[in-house]
């Protein structure tokens, strides 16, 4: 059976969480900051998260430009309870994940990057 793009992206996000169980939530949003697909805990407002995600990446792009550090690969935020990672998924989409504070960030990044590549082929 053929799946719609959103379903395909949701499957990619689910697989991402299976491969890296330290990932507690994941979302794909448009570069304009609107939700595309998400696999998030129910208490999270996906609309606000989408806007925040796009703004984080946009500010990250500005920061690397100002510091003359090339192009942005990812933006990383560490909170007392865990991590937030944001990276581009092609020119039109952005992926964000939240991970537990004991997460292996190398593993999270690896699987996140693979997911971003798959998503960039779809959007």
């Amino acid at each position: 059976m053929l799946l719609g793009k959103n379903e395909e992206i949701e499957n990619i996000l689910r697989k991402l969480q299976e491969d890296a169980p330290q990932i507690e939530g994941a979302a794909v949003v448009s570069v304009e900051g609107l939700p595309i697909a998400a696999s998030l805990p129910p208490e999270i407002d996906d609309v606000r998260l989408a806007a925040i995600t796009a703004a984080i990446l946009s500010l990250g792009e500005r920061a690397v430009q100002e510091f003359e550090k090339g192009l942005v690969d990812e933006v990383y935020v560490k909170g007392s309870g865990g991590y937030i990672l944001v990276m581009g998924a092609g020119p039109n989409a952005v992926i964000t994940v939240s991970a537990s504070k004991d997460a292996n960030l190398g593993v999270v990044r690896l699987y996140m990057k693979r997911a971003a590549e798959k998503i960039s082929e779809l959007i």
Binding site: E32, G33, L34, P35, R48, A55, S58, L59, R62
Partner: protein, 161 residues
């Protein structure tokens, strides 16, 4: 579900955050705490999920506006209804019109203050449809909600119950 991006911009301290807080949290902002960079609120209207982007008004954040306005269907240009502020808001609107096809609506906030220009006077200067507002009056939430709803409908979106 239809997701819609709506942007609020204007000079510092005109009440952008107060309007968004009134809409999304049904609460009145009592003290001025300037927005740093950008903030967000969300609201369901009919089958639309509206994401409201609250831009910091200070000059030092102005470079972010071009990026952040991308994809917006409706832009609210908020002024505090003083003559100087309205003229400055007019300049912002003129610049915006060159960069976006979004529907631009004026908000003449702080109508409760003495000397506030009337909404029709503000409208004639801004050159866009303009509505009066008092964002620190909880009774005005219904009015702001209906302004937003109407704007969404005008932006050719289906907003059914």
């Amino acid at each position: 579900m239809k997701y819609v991006k709506v942007v609020f911009l204007g000079l510092p301290s005109v009440g952008k955050t107060s309007i968004i807080t009134l809409l999304s949290e049904n609460r009145v902002v009592k003290s001025y705490d300037p927005t740093v960079g950008v903030d967000f609120g969300s609201l369901s209207i009919g089958e639309c999920e509206v994401c409201m982007w609250d831009f910091a008004g200070q000059d030092r954040f102005r470079f972010l506006w071009d990026d952040f306005v991308r994809g917006a269907k409706v832009i609210f240009a908020v002024s505090d209804s003083t003559p100087k502020n309205v003229l400055q808001t007019k300049k912002i609107i003129d610049e915006l019109k060159e960069k976006t096809d979004a529907l631009i609506i004026g908000i003449a906030n702080k109508q409760d203050l003495p000397g506030a220009m009337k909404p029709n006077q503000v409208e004639s200067i801004l050159g866009v449809p303009t509505y009066g507002m008092v964002a620190i009056d909880p009774r005005k939430r219904v009015k702001m909600y209906s302004i937003l709803r109407q704007a969404l409908e005008e932006a050719v979106l289906t907003v059914s119950n």
